[in-house]
């Protein structure tokens, strides 16, 4: 990476502000990384034996995976619970985020409103999802309700940003034409904004579904949301059963790859439609 720092005898790269910022960022990242590794809480673990141990564990997870406490049907049910959590939070998040995003897009709402909405959303987004779920668990108790509400909160803040940016890319002429023809605000939204941004909104929503599936696994493991994440936590922390953990890992890996494939396909079709 240092090759860009020294450009030989002839200075071929100009000293622009962009280049200076780039190099300062690189140096700061490297220094922070060295400091971070030096101060890492190692708890007297020998990194070399642990690393060898890790490779052996990967072998067990990959090649010796088998079910023990669950049947295949139960595994499928647990996976579906996790998928369902991801789906509910995406759908609820998308519905709410759509209406909030109308007030976060600069071409649809006054500046003062969009600034306020964007600030609130930035705050919600900055709180990690797991903290939202545990926060709601105080009044709702650990379980699917706290998990869904907490995950939906974070989904809303993510989707509002994505949706608002999509709305802001709209052709100003289309909006103006509708306004000039006497359409009211809701008519502009449903006759111009929704039809021309529908495919992009769909694509963003699917990306969030992909994220929410992983989040649902994590919430099962850490915040009592149930589903396959909880089984993985039990296999890891309670039964210490790497082989069963292996099967669970295969299950979530295959589903995640399918989702990613779907998201890529969806993005491609959306891209094609935009060009046409």
């Amino acid at each position: 990476m240092e090759t860009t720092l020294t450009s030989g005898r002839i200075r071929v790269r100009p000293r622009t502000r962009a280049n200076i910022v780039l190099h300062v960022t690189l140096i700061v990242l490297v220094l922070l990384t060295i400091y971070g590794l030096a101060t890492l809480d190692t708890r007297n673990i020998n990194i070399f034996t642990a690393f060898g141990d890790m490779l052996n564990n990967f072998r067990i997870v990959l090649f010796e995976a088998r079910l023990k406490n669950l049947s295949w049907l139960e595994l499928f049910r647990e996976l579906m619970i996790t998928v369902a959590l991801g789906l509910i939070t995406t759908v609820l998040g998308a519905i709410i985020a759509f209406f909030v995003a109308l007030f976060a897009a600069q071409n649809l709402a006054p500046r003062r409103v969009t600034d306020a909405v964007k600030a609130v959303m930035a705050f919600i987004r900055a709180v990690p999802t797991v903290l939202w779920v545990l926060f709601f668990a105080v009044t709702a108790g650990l379980g699917s309700i706290a998990a869904v509400v907490g995950m939906t909160f974070h989904s809303i803040s993510y989707l509002v940003k994505a949706y608002a940016e999509t709305f802001e890319e709209l052709d100003e002429g289309v909006l103006e034409a509708l306004r000039a023809s006497g359409a009211n605000w809701w008519q502009t939204i449903f006759q111009a904004v929704v039809p021309s941004s529908a495919s992009a909104l769909l694509s963003w929503t699917f990306v969030r579904f992909e994220i929410n599936f992983s989040v649902a696994i994590a919430m099962g493991a850490t915040a009592g949301a149930g589903g396959i994440g909880f089984d993985m936590f039990m296999a890891s922390a309670f039964y210490l059963d790497l082989r069963e953990l292996g099967i669970f890992t295969y299950a979530v890996l295959i589903f995640a790859i399918l989702l990613e494939w779907g998201a890529t396909r969806l993005k491609e079709t959306v891209g094609v439609k935009r060009q046409a």
Partner: protein, 262 residues
């Protein structure tokens, strides 16, 4: 009449699509035993509770030094894992990208490896790594690194291929070696994008590190869990506030860097 029929069909398709989504969502609610009315009721109750109980009290402020120390630990792990994983990610991307691969056979394995690493969630990696690294900082570090490695490999393969074959061919024509082509043409062209993605991963990893910390008993996540489970809600709220300030600050810095270098 043709346009009307077309519009009617589009509308029918949309309604059908929404109905299917609604049905699946309803089924999901039954399966997870999630009650929408109860769920909506939780929100006001949680915030009313928060106004009186979820605010930093005197004890919380006295714990601030400890909170900041753990927060620093978490941020550093996020930065270190993102940076190191990005170096390895760039390396694998160079092997896998169409313009820089040493041999066409490298492409598929490189993409497959990246796919496995990023599609296993960070919490799953942590649960597997707990077996070998226990409750140490290594577990979180490697869990974050693995996901980042898979992600950076994927986006850098795309970036390298977007830059195109022309500069590479131009250098090859001058007789430049493979190493020279990579270091003088490909890496300089991709560096701003790479830095931008590293910053993005640092932002993501701070949030993930909080989660992993709850599983592995390290960093800010552990501290939140500790205060939360001992009902010190004032201190837990200060942990949340400190995390939010850190995330927003880092977002602001990365946005500035991104605007300048891209």
């Amino acid at each position: 009449m043709q346009p009307n029929a077309f519009l009617r069909r589009r509308r029918l398709q949309s309604i059908f699509f929404l109905a299917v989504i609604a049905a699946i969502t309803y089924g999901s609610m039954v399966l997870t035993q999630f009650d929408l009315v109860q769920g909506l009721g939780v929100i006001p109750r949680a915030f009313v509770w928060a106004i009186t109980n979820f605010v930093p009290d005197e004890r919380a402020w006295s714990r601030l030094p400890r909170i900041l120390e753990k927060l620093q630990e978490t941020v550093l792990v996020a930065v270190a894992s993102s940076t190191i994983a990005s170096i390895f990610g760039l390396g694998l991307a160079l092997l896998g990208a169409n313009t820089t691969r040493p041999h066409p056979w490298f492409s598929l394995p490189a993409r497959a490896i990246a796919s496995i690493f990023r599609n296993i969630d960070v919490s799953v990696w942590a649960l597997i790594l707990l077996f070998s690294f226990g409750q140490s900082g290594f577990t979180g570090f490697f869990a974050l690194s693995f996901v980042t490695f898979g992600f950076i490999t994927r986006v850098m393969i795309e970036t390298i291929d977007e830059v195109g074959i022309e500069p590479v061919e131009a250098l090859r024509a001058t007789g430049a070696s493979y190493a020279a082509i990579i270091s003088q043409s490909v890496i300089p062209a991709c560096l701003p994008q790479l830095i931008s993605w590293v910053l993005y991963m640092i932002e993501t990893n701070i949030r993930s590190a909080t989660l992993v910390g709850i599983l592995t008993g390290t960093g800010i996540g552990f501290l939140f869990d500790l205060y939360f489970k001992s009902f010190s809600y004032g201190s837990a709220s200060l942990v949340v506030l400190a995390t939010v300030v850190a995330v927003l600050l880092i977002e602001a810095v990365s946005n500035y860097i991104r605007r300048t270098i891209l």
